[in-house]
């Protein structure tokens, strides 16, 4: 049977919501079909089903889905300025992945508290004929603004940001107040501030600086994201660990280098060639990377 993505994704949301409900775990379907239903994005095919899971229930929900043949995709060792916040599950009988988030980057609060804020304002939506809990439209806008800010060099995300700016500009006074109240309560207002300021909803000055906000700003402002993540990891690691971090930055495990260079041949020589290509690309981009980090730090210190 050939299941298409536009059939599989709503079914996947329905499946996870059903299994979570049976286990007493709170989950919210986010992005994809939810945004289209809330008028925040045109109808388009999603490649995965994104759900935000109560952090306390993440392990149990993952175990329940694994009982049904879903398997967690192995993560990569490449570091991230923002901690790992989701698990991807795949199933051989399904064309879409499940992306289970126990935290959404940009909500600069304890993940459980941020989830409670989202849950307390939830709405519902029928997906594949099953009632699914979803964020309120204002909370969905916040999620999309946070999402669009990450890696803003990608054309798709830039389009997403432009679209969200148009939506923000179209809000009436009551909707603006609702959105800003949620942004404050969920700890996302500072991470969203550059976008909210562009839309004229808040002043551009940061009111509540924090180390989490610094990391967030570094991530969204710096160029050449991969190298910036490694530099951040190196900068924040204890001195005794730095040689190991540096070695890992220079020499990725075989699985990861082959994922980055899928056309590399099978032998050891081809593997060495792929490593050299990656290092060459990193060195060529080094001046740009350093400018990106310095720029981000300078802006944060203003």
């Amino acid at each position: 049977m050939t299941l298409t993505l536009d059939e599989a994704v709503p079914l996947a949301h329905a499946l996870v919501q059903h299994r979570a409900r049976q286990a007493g775990i709170r989950v919210l379907s986010i992005k994809g079909p939810v945004l289209a239903a809330q008028g925040l994005r045109p109808e388009q095919t999603s490649t995965d089903a994104d759900l935000l899971v109560d952090p306390a229930g993440m392990d149990l929900l993952t175990a329940r889905l694994e009982d049904s043949g879903w398997r967690a995709r192995p993560g990569y060792s490449t570091p991230s300025i923002i901690p790992v916040h989701s698990a991807t599950l795949t199933h051989p009988g399904w064309p879409c992945d499940l992306d289970l988030h126990w935290y959404y980057p940009g909500f600069l609060l304890d993940p459980a508290v941020a989830f409670d804020e989202l849950w307390s304002r939830r709405s519902s939506l029928l997906l594949a004929g099953v009632e699914c809990a979803v964020p309120s439209p204002e909370a969905s806008m916040v999620i999309m603004v946070l999402h669009a800010q990450r890696d803003h060099h990608a054309a798709a995300r830039r389009d997403g940001l432009d679209r969200m700016l148009r939506h923000l500009a179209a809000l009436d006074t009551a909707q603006r107040e609702t959105l800003l109240r949620f942004a404050r309560d969920s700890g996302s207002i500072e991470a969203m501030r550059p976008v909210l300021a562009r839309a004229g909803l808040v002043p551009s000055e940061v009111e509540q600086p924090s180390p989490q906000l610094d990391d967030w700003m570094l991530m969204v402002r710096a160029e050449n994201i991969g190298a910036v993540h490694w530099m951040h990891r190196l900068r924040t690691a204890p001195w005794r660990e730095r040689p190991r971090v540096l070695w890992r930055a220079l020499v990725l495990p075989e699985r990861e280098i082959r994922a980055q260079y899928p056309h590399a041949g099978a032998g050891r020589l081809a593997l060495v060639g792929a490593h050299l290509k990656r290092l060459g690309r990193g060195l060529r981009r080094l001046p740009q990377t350093l400018r990106g980090v310095q720029g981000a730090l300078r802006e944060d210190n203003r």
Binding site: M1, E7, L11, A14, L15, H18, D67, H91, A128
Partner: protein, 90 residues
């Protein structure tokens, strides 16, 4: 007896004459694709029609005599029921 889609079933219809159903309680969680007449049978089940009325509705849709499809449709209804996708309407 009237037939109804089982309460644990999710269903998606994106294209005409094609519906994907999934028993959310089934451990293996594999969707089942219904195409053509199978999809028509699925949509003819509305919680009010009895099995022979489902046969008649499908026959009308495909403009064929009822007795020409009755055996196949009844067999398919049994198959769906045994798979946990249909139940008796309350």
């Amino acid at each position: 007896m009237s037939l109804v889609h089982a309460p644990s079933v999710a269903a998606v219809q994106v294209r005409d004459r094609r519906t994907v159903v999934l028993d959310l309680d089934a451990r293996e969680c594999l969707p089942r694709l219904l195409e053509g007449s199978a999809a028509a049978v699925w949509h003819a089940i509305d919680g009010r029609r009895r099995d022979h009325e489902v046969v008649a509705a499908v026959a009308r849709e495909f403009e064929v005599p009822t007795d020409q499809i009755e055996v196949d449709v009844m067999r398919f209804l049994r198959e769906l029921t045994e798979a946990g996708l249909l139940s008796e309407a309350p």
